[in-house]
């Protein structure tokens, strides 16, 4: 629950304008503090107690936790909303592959290699899984430590899983500077664990049999100065998991309940029996707040949809992805190439572009700025009218590139044909398919008419 500026100002010293913080009054400073626009350190007159209290009140409702280091680190938490349309989700969940020390060397190598190499280019980004979850199952500590050693050489972020606390910390000692997540800290082992965690601080995964069981654990950790925690409410099935994930998010954001103000971890690997169900379970956790998702295994066909879903759900809904207004070349078009036009919403552009590309017909694709709206919505919003499209076509310089002055208009906005022809004297406007899916059938036939 965010604290307001007027509540903060009551706690400030209220010295008549000292302005030492750089703001004209305490009130102005308080307002900035509330929105994160100023640092508390700027006020030199706060008592340590008040400062600590304010720091706590101003801290994000969900703690930011970092696993791993350098380029491979995964940051989770700091989320501000329950539903993405309220603002945006911030830190996409880290996806981990589970490796048991009972698995063969070949299998271990294959899994590490997958996380390192299974990457997918997508709309100018590179999508990939990022974490290794290493599980002590064999009963032979040396075997597990050998696995941890091998995995840590990859420099990937790691989750160390061991019910045996000594083994867990022995593994931690091999790679503490790589900031692995230690899991699980439970009510049974927390008292023994705390002093060891403090020796070489890394994030810890706290497991309870329920949300209620987690609360005293995180409170105890925090008292001991351990605040980089990840929560596992021990949900037994998918419905319980949706409830637990939702309650934790609501408690942190709507109730300002600090003991649950941490990111969460989910284990589809232990919840589902077959690969497809496991991926579907994981997809629920992408929508429902998990910050770390551990899978037993994946391949390109199961991983890609999850990564795309994660990208989609964590895209900021306040800013439609848009591309630049200009003409784009698909393949290497010459003077007799067809000219098509669409709007600058990134999705529209990519769909139309790839539909043209798959016909293997070199073309020009004009993109009109509709402030990131699709063609029909852009037209409805008055950003894809005949006049505007005409002016854009002239300005684009496409005219000097081609000899047939013909332009293909998306079928959905066929109604602007007349207007566009008025705005573009000498041009012929051809009505194209209503959907990008129709381009495959339309373009080859259309090109024949151009060549006649």
């Amino acid at each position: 629950m965010p604290i307001s500026g007027s509540e903060i100002v009551k706690m400030l010293p209220g010295r008549k304008p000292c302005k030492d913080c750089g703001f004209p009054t305490c009130f102005a400073f308080a307002m900035k503090l509330a929105t994160g626009g100023a640092a508390l350190d700027k006020c030199p007159y706060l008592s340590p107690e008040v400062k600590a209290k304010l720091e706590d009140l101003l801290a994000p409702a969900i703690k930011l936790v970092t696993i791993g280091t350098g380029d491979n680190k995964v940051q989770v938490g700091n989320e501000e909303v329950i539903y993405r349309h309220e603002k945006t989700y911030v830190h996409p969940p880290g996806i981990a592959i589970l490796i048991s020390d009972k698995e063969s060397d070949a299998k271990v190598d294959e899994k590490i290699k997958k996380v390192k190499e299974l990457q997918f280019p997508w709309v100018g980004l590179m999508l990939k899984a990022e974490l290794l979850a290493l599980q002590f199952e064999s009963g032979d500590r040396n075997k597990f430590l050998a696995l941890v050693k091998k995995a840590s050489a990859s420099n990937l972020g790691m989750i160390l899983i061991s019910q045996d606390l000594d083994t867990l910390f022995a593994a931690r000692d091999l790679c503490a500077d790589q900031k692995p997540l230690l899991y699980p800290i439970t009510k049974e082992n927390i008292d023994q664990a705390i002093p060891k965690i403090k020796e070489k601080p890394t994030p810890v995964g706290v497991r309870g049999a329920s949300i209620e069981e987690l609360i005293p654990l995180t409170m105890k950790l925090k008292e001991a100065g351990v605040d980089d925690a990840i929560l596992d409410p021990g949900s037994k099935n998918l419905m319980d998991a949706i409830r637990d994930q939702t309650f934790i998010r609501r408690a942190a954001l709507k109730q300002g309940f600090r003991p649950l103000g941490y990111p969460t971890i989910a284990f589809p690997c232990f919840m589902a029996k077959d690969g497809l169900k496991e991926i579907l379970t994981a997809s629920v956790f992408i929508n429902k707040f998990a910050a770390l998702i551990v899978l037993s295994d994946f391949d390109q066909f199961s991983l890609l949809p999850l990564l795309v879903q994660r990208l989609n759900i964590y895209t900021d809904p306040r800013f439609p992805m848009a591309v630049e207004e200009k003409y784009y070349e698909v393949g290497e078009p010459d003077a007799s190439a067809p000219v098509l036009i669409t709007s600058n919403w990134a999705l529209t552009y990519f769909i139309v572009y790839s539909a043209i590309e798959s016909t293997k017909i070199p073309s020009y694709l004009l993109v009109k700025d509709t402030e990131g709206l699709g063609v029909l919505t852009g037209w409805a919003a008055g950003k894809f009218t005949g006049d505007q499209v005409g002016a854009m076509v002239k300005k684009s310089g496409i005219e000097s590139k081609i000899k047939n002055k013909k332009i293909v208009l998306p079928g959905r906005v066929a109604r602007i044909k007349g207007e566009l022809e008025d705005a573009l004297p000498g041009w012929e406007v051809v009505i194209g398919p209503r959907e990008a899916a129709g381009i495959g059938a339309f373009l080859p036939e259309y090109v024949k008419t151009l060549r006649k």
Binding site: Y83, M239, R243, P259, T315, S354, G374, T377, E435
Partner: protein, 258 residues
């Protein structure tokens, strides 16, 4: 610090809509909680229902994986629909693609006769989508509504360009409307307001348009979440309708599916 489970309770109730008649009748909607939030105060009496897609002509560019389970049945829409029933569907969704001016521009009469036959031969409720061409649908869908009077079909898309004529035929002949608007909460509400001036709101189902993964699913996701919230949480009458997601075609036309 005391923890109290953050259960929520809301004011709005999604209208319960019935499609199909007699022992085919199927209820949808009726919930006063958000989807999957069974832990909140309230209930979801009718779980989501699944329909399988049937086209009124043999699909030209569909992927083999998609067609394989149907075998030869895809050459005959009625057989295709019956095949769907063997898979345990809750409803069948027939799309009249052949009436699209960009396809065969098939006449309204034939399409309406096919719908009538299908409605009488299958045991599940029937959903009927026109081609989406708002002019042609204004001829085809009223014809379908008339010829199948009393069948209580779920018919759409009713769009802002043709809602008067299509909506009227749906009202007069005892069917339910699919109100479709392009991925925008304001356009969606505006259409519902216009439509509900003459059509009872419990005869309206919302189609906010669905998108495939990687092709805009985040827009559908957030829009559907918002529609549900505005309806259930703030009790906005014009969004308290069930939602239909017509997503088969959206998914199978993606590059990855092919």
């Amino acid at each position: 610090m005391e923890y109290k489970a953050p259960k929520e309770a809301y004011k709005g109730v999604v209208r319960e809509v019935t499609i199909g008649k007699g022992d085919k009748a199927l209820k949808i909607g009726g919930e006063n909680i958000l989807p999957l939030h069974f832990f909140d105060e309230g209930s979801l009496p009718n779980p989501p229902r699944f329909a399988l897609e049937v086209l009124d002509m043999e699909p030209a560019d569909k992927v083999p994986h998609l067609l394989e389970p149907f075998g030869d049945a895809i050459s005959d829409p009625i057989k295709w629909a019956k095949k769907c029933e063997t898979f345990g569907v809750d409803a069948v969704c027939l799309t009249l693609v052949s009436t699209d001016p960009a396809e065969k521009d098939a006449p309204a009469d034939g399409a309406a006769q096919l719908v009538k036959r299908m409605a009488s031969e299958i045991k599940k409720p029937l959903i009927v989508y026109g081609s989406g061409d708002e002019k042609k649908d204004a001829e085809v869908l009223p014809k379908v509504a008339q010829v199948c009077a009393g069948e209580n079909l779920l018919i759409g898309p009713v769009q802002k360009e043709n809602y008067e004529v299509v909506g009227k035929a749906i009202l007069d002949n005892g069917h339910v409307a699919i109100a479709q608007s392009p991925l925008d909460i304001n356009l969606l509400k505006e259409l519902n307001v216009k439509l509900c001036k003459f059509l009872p709101p419990e005869r309206v189902v919302i189609d906010p348009l669905s998108s495939a993964l990687g092709y805009g699913i985040e827009y559908s996701f957030s829009l559907i979440e918002r529609v549900k919230q505005i309806g259930v949480i703030t009790k906005d009458s014009m969004t308290m309708m069930p939602i239909i997601a017509n997503l088969g075609d959206e998914c199978w036309k993606t590059k990855q599916a092919k």
